[in-house]
């Protein structure tokens, strides 16, 4: 019996309770094509289609715009410009008023929406869009952060974290190294692109079906843009075809345009951009330039660090503040810095405004930490794993982060030790050295890297959630909550929690689309928080109903409350048992309320940004991964030979779903660090705007051997839902082991005495250039 089971083993178990490997609730619909995405919904008669007209300069003013041919094109019903926005022309999610829906005259990036065409068909709208003539007065554009001067403009206030006197610690250290690392951005490449479908209603009302991770924010944006109250706007989303952070704020634009058009024309309006427009006009993961300095002793113990994280934020703040904050929160990864200073530079650039993406700056923060480890290791001629282990956070001391939160739940050491053993690290390290000595062209590399990731929104107020649970008189249950389903299995997990509470089979729990009309004022499904927050809110709702049922039964049957027990499919009342549905019928007849709104807010967390102190994270999630790669030193091509992962998700609610998140997150992270390269040309035009030019991993890029294990001893130290842990983002950063294994292979050409300083993404080109650089240094 697994330790997850808490029931009397004599009792039959419910189907689909917690800790079962319940399949995704929509799996059978995914495979058959029955799962309805927004573009699959039947279109009411009169439905119109919108297409965005995008700017073709990176910076400048619009001197004139001739839309006459656009308006005259076949099928065109209307053209919208900034003048047609009834309310506020802004969709800045942080209230900075720096993100127009349609720009008025100032163009700040290549691909900025300038106007929208509404036509009878999508094809007609797209063709008409191209007929515009815009006269621009071009101005100089800042595209690359490497070109930003010391006095460059920031899109939002920077953050500084400081603990101890890092300058003094580095100055006094026996060794110190300074360097710079470049780490690229990443397009989300959700398979279902952005889409919104707006239905006009009575009065000022509008309903928008939006592929969004944040229905409440879309609701607010639509309301502001229309100049109506939030109560007039309903946003619904049953499922997204992938989100990854790309639909946290980026869905706003499409929903707002479709809603404005629908209200103006009193017809349903759908907006589904072509993939190229989607990739050009929506934000991505921030790329960073990381300046670092580290002081360390002869054994590789880090004494002090100093980081500057400069990020390409694009023309507006969007979520760049919290993203760059989270980069700093993860400049330590799993390592203790006796003295640390880290500052962010959220830079304004004439590029699309960058946004949330799985890890939310955390991955970029962590690669800085891992680069420092490499620097120390190569400087001292030691295995980087030795330096990693030496500098891990302690449990009772050496346990305070640069933001002054004490790490209370550290399991990094155990995870690394177990993975080091299970992956056969030491023996393979020797085998690889022997292989490389004999192989002049193909070189192998090995690396084991840890992950420690902070869980909670760093904006404390977002850490709340609501749920709505109805029990109908036949005993079936309707479940709704503020979380959105983007493939991560959130709906399934929350339904498992509710099934577990009522002790009914999961097929008795109807999962329903997320809508602002049922649960209000929700937070984005983001920050890995989905099941932590919504699972607890749904559990609260179910428990409220259960409490009422127990009170009722106890009184009606005259038994003590502690003798009312919910068993699988039935309820024991004293010494008799009745089916759950029968209890519900009785309760209904006795006029017991069978519906409840649940609520949850994360305890313990607080954060003072001005001081750079607090407890922004409720807990940390841990994991580690070990990669072995082969590199062709003539071309820079490489192959991931093997990856071993040990990751902990507390007491898993659903191991199958968690392993799916780990495998998928890892591969996505590997793509970010290897083949996914965003390239803007000198005009600021994104040249990698489609899968033909932007290369996410394929099945044949998977590690040849891929061993993924959950730490079965894990349990959340905090009382989260069934003591589980968040799993959405942390596994993404396990992929750092691939970058470092490549670095290790490159380092072999100079006898591991020179840090390869391999930047990301480590494309074959970057790998080859690093090999050439090291060969040149090694020859000196």
């Amino acid at each position: 019996m697994s330790r997850h089971e808490t029931l009397d083993p004599d009792q039959a178990k419910i189907a689909g309770g917690v800790a079962s490997d319940q399949k995704h609730d929509s799996a059978h619909k995914h495979v058959s094509g029955d799962a309805v995405y927004i573009d699959d919904m039947p279109e009411p008669a009169g439905t119109l289609h919108a297409c965005l007209g995008l700017s073709e300069v990176a910076h400048g003013t619009i001197k004139g715009m001739d839309l006459s041919k656009v308006r005259a094109a076949p099928g065109v019903v209307a053209v919208l410009t900034a003048d047609d926005i009834p309310g506020e022309n802004d969709i800045s999610p942080t209230g900075l008023h720096d993100e127009p829906i349609l720009t008025d005259d100032l163009v700040q990036f290549f691909g900025q929406p300038v106007f929208a065409v509404i036509a009878e068909t999508r094809d007609a709208a797209r063709r008409a869009c191209r007929l515009v003539k815009i006269d621009y007065a071009e101005e100089p554009a800042l595209i690359d952060i490497a070109d930003a001067g010391a006095d460059a403009r920031l899109v939002t206030a920077p953050l500084k974290l400081e603990r101890g006197d890092s300058a003094a610690a580095i100055a006094a250290a026996p060794h110190s190294i300074k360097g710079q690392m470049r780490v690229g951005g990443q397009d989300h490449f959700y398979l279902e692109g952005q889409i919104a479908f707006a239905m006009p209603g009575e009065d000022g009302d509008v309903t928008v079906f939006s592929s969004t991770q944040h229905p409440s924010e879309v609701q607010h944006m639509v309301a502001h843009a229309l100049g109506v109250s939030s109560h007039a706007v309903t946003i619904e989303v049953r499922r997204m075809g992938g989100g990854f952070g790309g639909k946290e704020t980026q869905a706003n634009l499409f929903a707002v345009i479709s809603a404005i058009a629908a209200k103006k024309l009193n017809r349903p309006v759908k907006l589904r951009p072509d993939r190229d427009d989607d990739m050009t006009a929506t934000g991505k993961r921030h790329d960073f330039l990381i300046d670092y300095e580290v002081g360390f002793d002869d054994d590789g113990g880090i004494l002090g660090v100093d980081f500057t994280y400069a990020a390409r934020c694009g023309y507006a703040a969007d979520l760049s503040g919290p993203v760059t904050d989270r980069a700093l929160f993860h400049c330590d990864n799993a390592y203790f810095y006796p003295a640390a200073r880290a500052v962010s530079r959220p830079l304004y650039t004439n590029t699309v405004s960058n946004t949330a993406f799985r890890g939310f700056g955390g991955p970029q923060g962590m690669v800085g930490a891992e680069r420092i480890i490499d620097e120390v290791a190569f400087a001292l001629g030691k295995d980087p794993l030795e330096i990693r282990k030496k500098n891990l956070y302690g449990t009772d001391d050496r346990n305070v982060t640069p933001y002054h939160q004490t790490v209370e739940d550290n399991v990094a050491e155990r995870i690394i030790a177990e993975l080091e053993a299970s992956s056969g690290y030491a023996a393979r390290r020797r085998e690889i050295a022997a292989f490389n000595a004999k192989s002049p062209v193909i070189k192998r590399g090995l690396a084991l890297t840890p992950v420690k990731f902070g869980i909670s929104f760093t904006a404390t107020h977002f850490n709340q959630a609501g749920a709505l649970v109805h029990v109908y008189t036949d005993g079936s249950v309707h479940l709704n909550h503020g979380g959105t389903e983007m493939g991560q299995g959130l709906y399934t997990k929350v339904a498992q929690v509710v099934a577990e509470e009522f002790q009914i089979d999961i097929d008795q729990v109807k999962i329903t689309a997320t809508t602002t009309g049922k649960v209000p004022n929700t937070s984005a499904t983001a920050a890995s928080s989905g099941s932590d927050l919504n699972g607890m809110a749904a559990q609260d709702a179910a428990r409220q109903i259960k409490t009422r049922l127990i009170d009722f039964v106890s009184e009606a049957h005259d038994v003590p409350k502690d003798q009312v027990v919910f068993l699988p499919g039935r309820v024991r009342i004293g010494n008799r048992e009745i089916p759950f549905a029968e209890l519900i019928r009785e309760a209904y007849m006795a006029r017991v309320q069978l519906s409840a709104a649940g609520f949850y807010k994360t305890p313990k967390i607080h954060w003072d940004r001005d001081k750079g102190e607090g407890r922004p994270f409720y807990y940390f999630a841990y994991g580690a991964a070990c990669a072995e790669v082969s590199v062709d030193t003539l071309t820079g091509e490489y192959m991931v030979e093997r990856v071993d992962i040990l990751h902990e998700t507390g007491r898993s609610l659903n191991r199958a779903i968690d392993i799916g998140q780990i495998e998928g997150g890892f591969i996505q992270g590997m793509g970010w660090l290897t083949t996914e390269e965003l390239i803007w040309d000198g005009k600021g035009r994104l040249r990698t705007h489609a899968p033909s030019t932007y290369k996410i991993p394929l099945a044949s890029d998977r590690p040849k051997v891929f061993n993924v294990a959950l730490a079965d001893w894990a349990e959340n130290a905090e009382p989260t839902v069934h003591r589980s842990k968040a799993v959405g983002e942390p596994p993404f950063m396990l992929a750092m082991c691939v970058l470092h294994a490549l670095s290790d292979a490159v380092a072999s050409v100079a006898d591991h005495r020179v840090c390869p300083r391999l930047d990301a993404p480590a494309t074959p080109e970057r790998v080859l250039m690093a090999v050439e650089r090291l060969r040149a240094v090694g020859a000196r």
Partner: protein, 487 residues
């Protein structure tokens, strides 16, 4: 016989006859907008993500084979006489999922689910061909399907288990095969199809002679074979392509055979069809086919199209040039044959006069005295566009280079021979010293550009290093990565 003014095909279980077909109407739009078959998704509209994968069965010389294709860039007009199978056709009437579908469910092969129907269809095509699936075959069949959620691991596990859920022999496409063949045979009437007029006109020639006649009369017509390039002219650039001539169904362009050591490939033969023979006869080409496009593109795209569109980064011209291939062009009844390398004049300019078309390419099989290799370099190993592609055909006797033909893609405005490099090698002893000395000749042959695929520096360095690789491998050392052990 007069022309027909409608196309006929089978859609799942239903015969369809359509007279209102626009020449640039895609199969995907037809399925989603006209038929409301929304299981087939649009992910990219350029044939790279596979969310729109459907199967197309066509009679070729009396045999029926189903292939996975991208509906987003497949034109509806090209489906005359075909059987189109979409994901909606897989589940049985009683609601039982197809073995591929059930395996995907049980192995947690879907997360967001948007790519899933495409994966199901790609695996279905593979499973019908090879019921016992190797990991290599699965990966190759899935090169044209992107998944952003799962990391593919559970999909591959599902694929390996499909045959536990049912057997191919009892699959509907097997049991109904004879009926489908009969239905498709009945659609064949051997006449030209003409639909529409003016800017919305399409033609399907009755045969190759009819095609030659059409093109002679209408030299500005857009020739569509596999549509892997022209598809994007429509979906991405919204170009007018009328009148369109669909030649994918012409058996006369689908021949492939070998005579006297020369393999002749009809211009309409797909990559899949051509490489089935090419990699048997010229094994070094086997490593290349795995890296051209995804499975759907290999099923659709043709060797003739890859040559005729004149791209500097087409994957087949450099190896064919290195092998000394020739090209037959035809205009009306007149044919001429030229060395393939002479076809490429400059960027966007080929030796093809108005009304002329590529009919066949002739590839000499290298003899035992030759050492031939071709390597493609790209940012992502598979389903990516070439950064640099080098092909080498050297004859080395008694330790000396007797002859050399070296050609590159991605290094110039056209696929191009490295004649200075060849000259630096021929007549010299085949040694590392000779190779190193020849490297300085590259700058005389090539001045590559920087773009989003690679920098000029990388292109030049990697191009030179491919010659080094060729040398190292000729000495018997390992100098290339392979995902699989040699078969």
């Amino acid at each position: 016989m007069g022309a027909r003014h409608e196309i006929r095909f089978l859609l799942n279980g239903t015969p369809v006859a359509l007279s209102d077909v626009r020449p640039d109407e895609t199969l995907l739009d037809y399925l989603r907008l006209r038929q409301r078959l929304t299981g087939t998704k649009e992910g990219c509209a350029e044939g790279d993500c596979g969310a729109c994968t459907v199967l197309v069965g066509r009679l070729r010389h009396g045999d029926l084979a189903y292939e996975s294709v991208n509906a987003c860039i497949r034109f509806l007009g090209s489906l005359d006489g075909c059987h189109v199978v979409t994901v909606e056709h897989l589940r049985r009437a009683d609601g039982t999922l197809h073995p591929v579908q059930q395996a995907m469910v049980d192995h947690h092969g879907s997360q967001c689910g948007f790519c899933t129907p495409g994966f199901v269809m790609s695996l279905y095509a593979l499973w019908m061909r090879e019921p016992q699936l190797s990991e290599r075959a699965i990966e190759k069949a899935l090169q044209g399907n992107l998944c952003r959620c799962t990391g593919y691991e559970p999909i591959v596990r599902a694929a390996q288990a499909v045959s536990d859920y049912g057997d191919v022999a009892s699959d509907p496409l097997a049991t109904e095969r004879a009926a489908v063949i009969a239905a498709l045979e009945a659609m064949k009437d051997g006449v030209r199809v003409e639909i529409g007029s003016g800017r919305e006109r399409l033609l399907i020639p009755a045969d190759v002679d009819d095609f030659a006649a059409i093109l002679e009369a209408e030299p500005k017509a857009t020739i569509v074979a596999g549509a892997t390039d022209v598809g994007l002219w429509v979906t991405k650039f919204m170009r007018e392509i009328s009148p369109v001539v669909f030649i994918g169904g012409l058996d006369g362009l689908h021949g492939i055979d070998e005579q006297d050591g020369i393999i002749t490939i009809g211009a309409g033969v797909s990559y899949t069809g051509a490489f089935a023979l090419l990699e048997k006869r010229i094994p070094a080409l086997g490593a290349l086919i795995d890296r051209i496009g995804g499975e759907q593109v290999r099923n659709m795209g043709t060797i003739g199209g890859n040559i005729a569109n004149g791209s500097p980064i087409g994957d087949t011209p450099p190896p064919l040039i290195a092998l000394g291939a020739t090209l037959t062009l035809r205009r009306g009844k007149a044919r001429r044959t030229i060395p393939l390398e002479d076809f490429f004049i400059d960027y966007g300019k080929q030796d093809r006069v108005p009304g002329e078309f590529v009919e066949a390419v002739h590839v000499p099989v290298p003899d035992a005295s030759s050492r031939f290799a071709v390597w493609k370099l790209s940012k992502r190993r598979d389903e990516d566009i070439t950064a640099v592609l080098g092909a080498f055909d050297l004859r080395i006797a008694d330790g000396r280079v007797e002859a050399a033909r070296i050609a590159y893609g991605g290094m110039a405005a056209t696929p191009k021979r490295a004649k200075s490099v060849e000259k630096a090698l021929v007549g010299k002893p085949w040694t590392e010293k000779t190779v190193e000395a020849a490297l300085s000749a590259y700058e005389g042959d090539f001045q590559p550009i920087s773009d989003m695929r690679a920098s000029a520096d990388y292109r030049m360095m990697a191009a030179k290093n491919l010659l080094r690789r060729f040398y190292v491998e000729s000495t018997g050392s390992l100098a290339n990565l392979s995902r699989y052990e040699a078969a």
